[in-house]
């Protein structure tokens, strides 16, 4: 009895979690202009729309430009900071770590309002630089967490071993620490890119019409005039993030195997 109840409950929750995401996918291939089942016929017209319609095509290009910019900026800054925070040689290291994580906590709308006012003052409003900076702020926590975890996984004895074998500190960093931290850096960068790709709220506040990202375009499309293009864009995003997630998982597994010494 209890067992049956458990199974029913488990299946229901799994269905609740997974089905909505799966249900949206076939609609990307509908030939109709309505997002409804049953699908009258299958076609690729909405994907065509995605790559030919100016607003959509531009938004995809913008998402890539901004995503790559924010990823590079946050990965460089976050990796350096994670290296600096290592072994807490700094006073107030705990406080700094909290500061680095806060962008994940502060509501996006709140940061958006402040960012909007400030970027106008700095003359960065409605510019790629402004949007990239704003996205990078949101991405930084993921990089810091990911790289810190990778660094924490390195046995300090390994670096000592390198020193005792004649490697000066710079060589130890280059030949041992950095290669072992790379999986963490890459998975941090993947998280950062996924975060930027999905960002809407801050973008609403700081981006001009020329920096409209795919997520931002989907938001207004759902709000104003929803069409199956949204489903096509969703499919694109799902496939994209799943690829990135798979890449991150693969790297984490490699990292785990590499450091899984007795």
């Amino acid at each position: 009895m209890l067992r049956a109840l458990q199974i029913v409950f488990g299946v229901l929750v799994v269905a609740f979690l997974i089905l909505p995401i799966i249900a949206i996918l076939p609609l990307a291939f509908t030939s109709s202009v309505f997002l409804t089942y049953p699908i009258p016929a299958y076609s690729l017209r909405w994907f065509e729309e995605l790559v030919t319609a100016d607003v959509w095509r531009l938004s995809i290009v913008n998402s890539l430009i901004i995503g790559i910019g924010a990823t590079v900026l946050s990965t460089v800054l976050g990796t350096l900071a994670a290296l600096g925070l290592r072994r807490s040689a700094l006073p107030l290291a705990g406080l700094l770590r909290t500061l680095f994580l806060l962008p994940m906590v502060v509501p996006a709308v709140v940061l958006g309002v402040g960012m909007q006012i400030l970027l106008v003052r700095l003359g960065l409003a409605s510019s790629y630089t402004g949007v990239i900076i704003a996205h990078a702020v949101l991405c930084v926590p993921f990089v810091v967490v990911s790289v810190s975890a990778a660094l924490q996984g390195i046995d300090p004895a390994i670096e000592r071993a390198a020193m005792s074998l004649g490697a000066p500190p710079v060589t130890v960093f280059r030949r041992v620490t950095l290669p072992l931290a790379v999986p963490g850096v890459v998975s941090g960068a993947v998280f950062a890119f996924a975060t930027s790709l999905d960002e809407v709220v801050i973008t609403l506040f700081v981006a001009g019409p020329n920096q409209r990202t795919l997520a931002r375009q989907m938001f207004s499309s759902i709000r104003e005039n929803i069409s199956p293009t949204v489903a096509a864009a969703a499919l694109l995003l799902i496939v994209g993030t799943l690829c990135l997630a798979a890449l991150a998982a693969l790297l984490r597994r490699r990292e785990k195997r590499a450091t899984a010494l007795p």
């Binding site: 071993a161 390198a162 020193m163 005792s164 004649g166 195997r257 590499a258 010494l261 007795p262």
Partner: protein
């Protein structure tokens, strides 16, 4: 015997905690010295100072007459084998072994040659392209050892290198390391908390307790002539017997224990209260009264240990543990017997 490695008045404090306390230690070239002691006794910290990972709070460390106290680790030319091997997980076996040679800017071709020779020597040539995670514990241990040896360092430091291996493999590796030491004439400083490992391998053993060396001697002397109660108890099993010195001269003394006067080894003043250390296997049991150093005892318990028996003997308020070989017959509980020992098998401890 000129000192190759010398610690002079070395003290190391971590905050208020003194881990190494004003310590002197000299190690000769080609010697195998074990640093033995319980955890927290300062032996690992001493090794870390010798390797350069820790700076002494005060005092100096010398290598071949030159002070190295402030030399960074990578310029000390000491090969080190770590507790969990500390192999580079992202490099292959061959790359691991090549690492110290690259650091010394040995030409590429020679590196390849030397790595191959070294790996063949420890029978790992076939595994040279594997990653450490693909090796067994024993193989990893041999790679770590090879990596520490390949650049022909002046000194090899080992920090509990065999701790992670199972018993059989550990005993095999003990012999292998001892053999390497003899063959190559290496100077080895070996940290362990395993007394049998120290006894098997070392030229000399330094027994650590609370930041100080209690005794440094050959394995035989440390076992047979422990100088302190700590050493006697830490190494092997022993019976500690309290008594009073009634007569003494030279290396011999007579100590009164209960009603019996026992003659023992040791240089002490008459009239002092002392402890005697008597190893279980040195106690002889007989059924007839022996001439000297004899105590009448009753067998209180008899514990079966396979190849031998452990007997708990009572003599008045005194309780002794003795080891009886199976050949020496049965000693059922309650048997009256006489326990005796040779004077040179019983040591007076400074207490």
């Amino acid at each position: 015997m000129g000192a190759f490695i010398a610690f002079k008045n070395v003290t190391k404090k971590f905050g208020a905690l003194t881990v190494v306390d004003n310590l002197d230690l000299e190690i000769a070239k080609g010697e195998f010295v074990s640093l033995l002691g319980p955890s927290g006794s300062g032996k690992t910290t001493l090794l870390m100072m010798l390797a350069g990972f820790e700076r002494p709070t005060s005092g100096e460390i010398f290598l071949d007459g030159k002070p190295i106290t402030h030399l960074p680790p990578h310029r000390r030319q000491m090969g080190m084998v770590f507790q969990n091997y500390a192999l580079f997980p992202h490099m292959t076996v061959a790359e691991n072994v090549a690492f110290p040679l690259e650091m010394q800017r040995v030409p590429r071709a020679e590196i390849v040659r030397r790595v191959e020779r070294a790996l063949d020597m420890v029978r790992l040539g076939a595994l040279k392209d594997r990653k450490p995670s693909q090796l067994s514990g024993g193989q990893q241990q041999r790679v770590a050892l090879t990596r520490a040896l390949v650049f022909e360092p002046d000194v090899i430091l080992m920090d509990e290198p065999l701790g992670a291996l199972d018993k059989q493999l550990r005993e095999h590796m003990q012999l292998e390391i001892r053999d390497l030491h003899r063959r190559l004439g290496l100077t080895i400083v070996f940290v362990t908390h395993d007394q049998s490992e120290a006894l098997t391998m070392s030229d000399r053993i330094a027994v650590f307790n609370a930041g100080k060396i209690e005794q440094i001697d050959t394995p035989q002397m440390v076992y047979d002539r422990p100088r302190t109660r700590f050493v006697a108890e830490f190494i092997g099993e022993t019976n500690l017997v309290a008594g009073k010195v009634v007569d003494a001269g030279g290396e011999r003394a007579v100590v009164r224990v209960g009603d019996a006067a026992l003659s023992v080894c040791g240089n002490v003043q008459p009239g002092r209260d002392v402890s005697l250390s008597l190893r279980p296997e040195r106690i002889r049991l007989g059924s007839t009264p022996a001439a000297a150093n004899a105590l009448p005892v009753t067998v209180a318990d008899c514990i079966y240990h396979g190849d031998h028996m452990r007997l708990v003997l009572k003599s008045g308020s005194l309780e002794l543990v003795a080891r009886a070989e199976r050949l020496a017959g049965d000693w059922p509980v309650g048997t009256e017997a006489v326990a005796s020992f040779d004077p040179q098998d019983c040591t007076v401890l400074a207490s």
